[in-house]
Every structure is written in C-alpha cells, then in structure tokens.
C-alpha cells in the first residue's frame, strides 16, 4: 500500500482568527463554493438549503429509553451550546419547528442504551435535537437515521460534570438523501464524551461536530466510520476547541471509498487556547481508496497557543487497495470478493468494535459488506 501524507499544517504564528459564528442567517453570505468552508462541498446539490423554506417533512420515529431517561418534543428551544458557523445551521436553528429533547437524570447509570430511530419521508425539513446528560450520569445513546429527505439539522450535546456519554450517530439514509448537520457538544468538568459518527447512506452528508469544554479534566473521543459509494459525498468538519485546562481529545476517522466519484472530505481543526495548559490531543484520519475514480480529501489543522501542553499531534494517511495486495491475497486461495471484504473489515474493525450495541454492530458490518459488493460504478 502506498501511503501519502497530504495535509496542510495550521498556522502557528500570531493569533488565529476567531471562528465566525452567528445566530443570524444573514450574517453568512450564500456560499459560492470558493469559501474555505464550502470549497469541497457540491453546492449545486444543496442549493435549496441556503434560502429559508417552509418545511415539508420532519424526522419521526421511535425512542426506546430505560429508566432515568426522559424525552419530549418541545417548542424550539436552543440549549445555548451551539453557535451556528454557517448559513444552513443558522437557518435551521432559527426555523426548526420544534426540538427533540432527551435528558438523562443526574447520577443515573443506564442499564440499557437509549435508541432513537428517526425516519424521514421525502421532503425538506429543519431539525433540532438536544441530548443532555446530567452530572455524574452515564449513558449510551444511538441516533439512527434512515429514509429519504433533505434535512438541515442542529444537535446540541451537554455532558454534565463527571458525566459520561457515548453517542452513536448513524446516517443510514437512502441513496438520494441530503443531510447537513451541526453537532455541538459541551463537556463538563471531568466529563467524557465519545462521539461516533457512522456515515453510510445519503447522496450528500455533511456533518460538523464541534466540541468545547465547560471545565477542566474533560475528555472527548471522536471517532468516525464512512463508506462512500459511487457519486456519494460524505464530509466531516470537526472543530475541537480546547478552552479549558487539562482536557484531552482523541480523534480517529476512517473512510473507505469505492466507485466513480465516491468522495470523502475530512477537515479536523483543533485549537489549543492559551488557557488550555495540560492539553493532550491527537487526531488521525485514514482513508482507504478501493477503486480508481474515488477521491479522499484530508485536512487536519492544529493551532497551539500555549507551550504547556502534554501532547498535540495529527496525522493523515490515504492508502489504496492496489492490484499487488489483491494478487497476494488471491495467490493464497482467497477469492477477490472475499479479499476486498477482508481488507475493508480489517480497516474498520478497531472502530466498529467500539459500537456499544451488538445488533447495531452486526447491522453496520453487514451494511458495509453489502455496499462493498455493489458493483463499482453502479448505483449507490
């Protein structure tokens, strides 16, 4: 396998500009595609999201929640964690008709994961979700989306002091769905968030997870699994803002791509502010290109504004599954389809093994293998 290091380093001199945020949609121009934050995204496939619209669909579904969890659909009620960083997010935060709010009581130790299954019927909609884990509570939450729609969404995640949340966000959309979603988390003192994004379906999915810390001692693990098939665009834009001392973050995103115009984009911005002494952070993006005609972009950025840190690093590697690897495996009797499966299964195993629900793990493995078996160049 050839590995290429294709990434740019963040500017470490001077003071980096604040990331621009606003709750006013008109504070953001309608993008032209030349902007840094939109230059990888196929804008023509999401034009309708840049102007205000009347929602024609919404995500409905089921919630399975053990004792200690309450949930409700409330009038739109932003939690104050998310500051929109683009026009679509700002429009969604202003115009979502309601909020889905899930609360885990302080001190609760959940016996079972919370399963939120959301289905969208065709149409266009705004969504807003709040997941709030109380102090010292421990919870696992799976948010599992499927269906066919165009959705602009904001998700606000609050982990109280000493709390722990394992959140799995599955984009299992039908092939024609468009989904732009901003996830913003605030991690309390000595609290822990494991955020896992699984992007499998949809024509265009753009997920922007943002983390900041509400006190010292917080820990954020962000992991991601994506499989992009022909014509599919799967984009992740991470931002981890180390704005408290003694916090740590660990990022590992893996993308596999197969087929003509399969596309993944991974932007990982980590900022260590002057106050954030004792920070330990590492981020890694690995891409596996299975066929010609697919393209993976990877841009990790690290801005370090204090020298008094434990560690900071990033890495990015894009490898190809090439003819020599295939020959080697086949020369040991392994059929071609099995060889591809072996390589892709091995590539994702360390991440999928962290899926906290066995049925979900098995379903994701099966879905990836089914996608893998689809003839490259065929329908997504």
């Amino acid at each position: 396998m050839t590995a290429t290091l294709a990434h740019s380093h963040g500017n470490r001199t001077g003071t980096p500009p604040e990331r621009f945020t606003s709750s006013d949609p008109d504070a953001f121009e309608v993008p032209t595609g030349r902007e840094e934050e939109w230059r990888f995204t196929p804008l023509r496939r999401l034009r309708e999201l840049f102007t205000p619209f009347e929602p024609t669909t919404r995500i409905t579904g089921e919630v399975s929640a053990p004792e200690g969890v309450s949930w409700a659909i409330e009038p739109l009620s932003p939690a104050g964690v998310l500051a929109p960083a683009d026009r679509v997010s700002a429009l969604a935060l202003q115009r979502a008709p309601q909020s889905f709010v899930l609360r885990v009581a302080a001190g609760a130790r959940l016996d079972d994961p919370v399963l939120v299954t959301g289905v969208a019927s065709p149409g266009i909609g705004y969504e807003h979700m709040v997941i709030e884990v109380g102090e010292r509570a421990q919870a696992t939450v799976v948010v599992d989306y499927r269906g066919s729609a165009t959705i602009a969404e904001n998700v606000e995640i609050l982990v109280g002091d000493g709390g722990s949340l394992e959140l799995v966000s599955v984009q299992g959309w039908d092939a024609d769905a468009v989904h732009l979603s901003a996830h913003a988390a605030r991690i309390g003192r000595d609290a822990h968030l494991r955020h896992m994004a699984v992007n499998l379906g949809g024509a265009v999915v753009r997920l922007s997870p943002t983390v900041h810390f509400g006190g010292p001692g917080g820990r954020a693990d962000l992991i991601g699994v994506a499989f992009a098939g022909p014509g599919q665009h799967l984009e992740t834009r991470l931002y981890i803002d180390h704005d408290q001392p003694d916090c740590s973050s660990d990022v590992l995103y893996k993308n596999a791509l197969q087929g003509d115009d399969a596309r993944t984009v991974w932007i990982g911005d980590v900022r260590i502010r002057p106050v954030a002494t004792g920070t330990n952070t590492f981020e890694l993006n690995r891409n596996l290109v299975l066929t010609d005609g697919a393209r993976a972009d990877s841009v990790p950025n690290l801005e370090i504004e204090t020298g008094e840190i434990v560690g900071a690093g990033h890495a990015s590697a894009t490898g190809r599954f090439d003819d020599e690897q295939l020959f080697y495996l086949m020369a040991r009797g392994i059929p071609e389809a099995e060889a591809r499966k072996l390589v892709v299964r091995g590539f994702f195993a360390e991440l999928l093994d962290k899926v906290p629900v066995p049925e979900l793990h098995d379903r994701l493995v099966a879905t990836i293998e089914k996608r893998l078996a689809e003839v490259a160049g065929g329908p997504a």
Partner: protein, 256 residues
C-alpha cells in the same frame, strides 16, 4: 501423486506504455511430487517471470504453451483458483496488507484452500507451532500482514504459509535473497520439513548456490534469456558456483 507440467511456455510482460516485451521463450519443465528442482540463472533471465506467470499475476501475458497441474489447465484458472488447485508462490517481495492481521489472513487462506474452516481447537496450536518453528514470535499473528516486517520476517512468514497451506507444488522465488545466515538456515529447515512429507513438489528459484547447501535439489536447471539452457543433478550447481553464468551468457550473445 501430483505433477506440474510446463510445456513450451512463452510469456510477455506488459510495459507501462502498453507495449509487450517477450520474456519467456519456450520453457519446458516437469515437477513431480516430492521432487526439488532448482532454477538458477543471472539477473533478468526471466526466473521470476516464470514464477509469477504460473501463479497468474496480471502483469504477465501468456503468448504460448501450457501449464498443467495433474492434467488441469492452470492458465485457464484465476489466481485464487490456482492456489486452491494446489499451487503456492513464496514471493520475493511479499506485499503489505494493512488492516488485515496475520492470524485472520492465515485462517481465511486456510479456509479457502481446504474448503472448510480449520478446527478452532487445533488451529491455534498449528499456527503457533508453525511460527515458532520458523523463528517468528507468535505475537506477529496480531500484526498486520507484512506491515513493518523486516525482509527476513517477510520471508519467514512466506514459509509459515507454505507449511500451513500444504500445497501440491510450491514455487519459491528467491526466498534466500536478503536473508542472513541464521535466517537462511531456519527458512531452509522449513522448506525441508515440507519436502520430507514427500507430497510437495518444489521449484526453487535462486540466484546463488548458498541455499542449495541446505535444500538439496534433485535437479538443477540453468535459466538464461527466458529458457532453460542446461540441466543436470546437484553437481551442476557446484559447477555454477565455480564458473558462474559467464559461459552461458556469452553463448546467448554475451553480457551487455
């Protein structure tokens, strides 16, 4: 008992510009079960081309001749079918396969070759045993295939596979290259264990005679300019050691 027959084999290599360059110019060779044939020749004589074209590497195009394993047409088979039919190629440059552990790879290969999964109860012991005999730390089973292996570790891993997969015919392509004297001995012992079973025919491709001190060939073939130019017993290897390939090369038009 198995037999591999190579008849008047002509092979071209596909060059990056799309043109073809003839490499093998009519190779005839028969390898029976339990026999060890050494193919010796200078660099660029086509020894590796012979190995890779029998295994089915897509870079090589067969332009004439036949390869038969127990009468079955090997050239009509896909690469994996050839391996399942009983051919094994220990490669000169084993390929790294990131993300796939040695343990998983070997179990998958064993399952494919045998047509059924190895018994869990005995497989672990078999794997550990084969690795230990080849001087590979069994902890390598959890590492990715050939990733970060030294040259010697890659070669040991190839022979571990040879022992586990028990092929009818094994082609060893310069397995001795890049090995220090201790590794050469360990690897040779592995090859000899397979030979002693008496079921496997071995085609040993080498540049040097030193491996032949450990793995005694029954037949030695001198390979020059894409074909076999002389054949004999083990004594031929000693003659080559003393005289080199010079006189074959001058006969074939001289060294460039």
């Amino acid at each position: 008992m198995s037999v591999l027959e190579i008849r008047d084999l002509h092979v071209s290599v596909k060059l990056p510009d799309g043109s073809r360059k003839p490499i093998l110019a009519g190779v005839d060779l028969t390898v029976g079960a339990g026999q060890t044939h050494a193919i010796m020749g200078p660099n660029g004589s086509g020894k590796s081309t012979l190995a890779y074209s029998i295994a089915g590497h897509p870079k090589y195009q067969i332009t004439g001749g036949q390869v038969l394993l127990d009468g079955a047409d090997v050239l009509a088979m896909t690469v994996d079918e050839r391996a399942r039919a009983g051919l094994f190629l220990a490669m000169q440059y084993p390929v790294e396969v990131p993300g796939v552990s040695v343990a998983n790879f070997l179990r998958t290969a064993k399952t494919a070759i045998d047509g059924e999964a190895p018994k869990l109860r005995t497989w672990g012991k078999e794997l550990t045993g084969a690795m230990t005999r080849l001087g590979m730390d069994p902890a390598f089973a959890q590492r990715n295939v050939n990733e970060g292996f030294s040259g010697g570790e890659k070669k040991r891993h190839e022979i571990v596979q040879l022992e586990l997969l028990k092929p009818k015919v094994a082609i060893l392509d310069e397995t001795d290259s890049g090995l220090d004297i201790d590794a050469l001995r360990v690897v040779s012992e592995g090859v000899n264990r397979v030979r002693e079973q008496g079921d496997t025919g071995v085609l040993l491709i080498t540049h040097y005679t030193r491996i032949l001190r450990y793995v005694k060939p029954d037949f030695v073939h001198v390979f020059v300019a894409g074909r076999i130019v002389e054949e004999g017993g083990p004594e031929l290897a000693e003659k080559l050691e003393a005289e080199g390939y010079e006189r074959y090369l001058s006969g074939a038009g001289g060294r460039a």
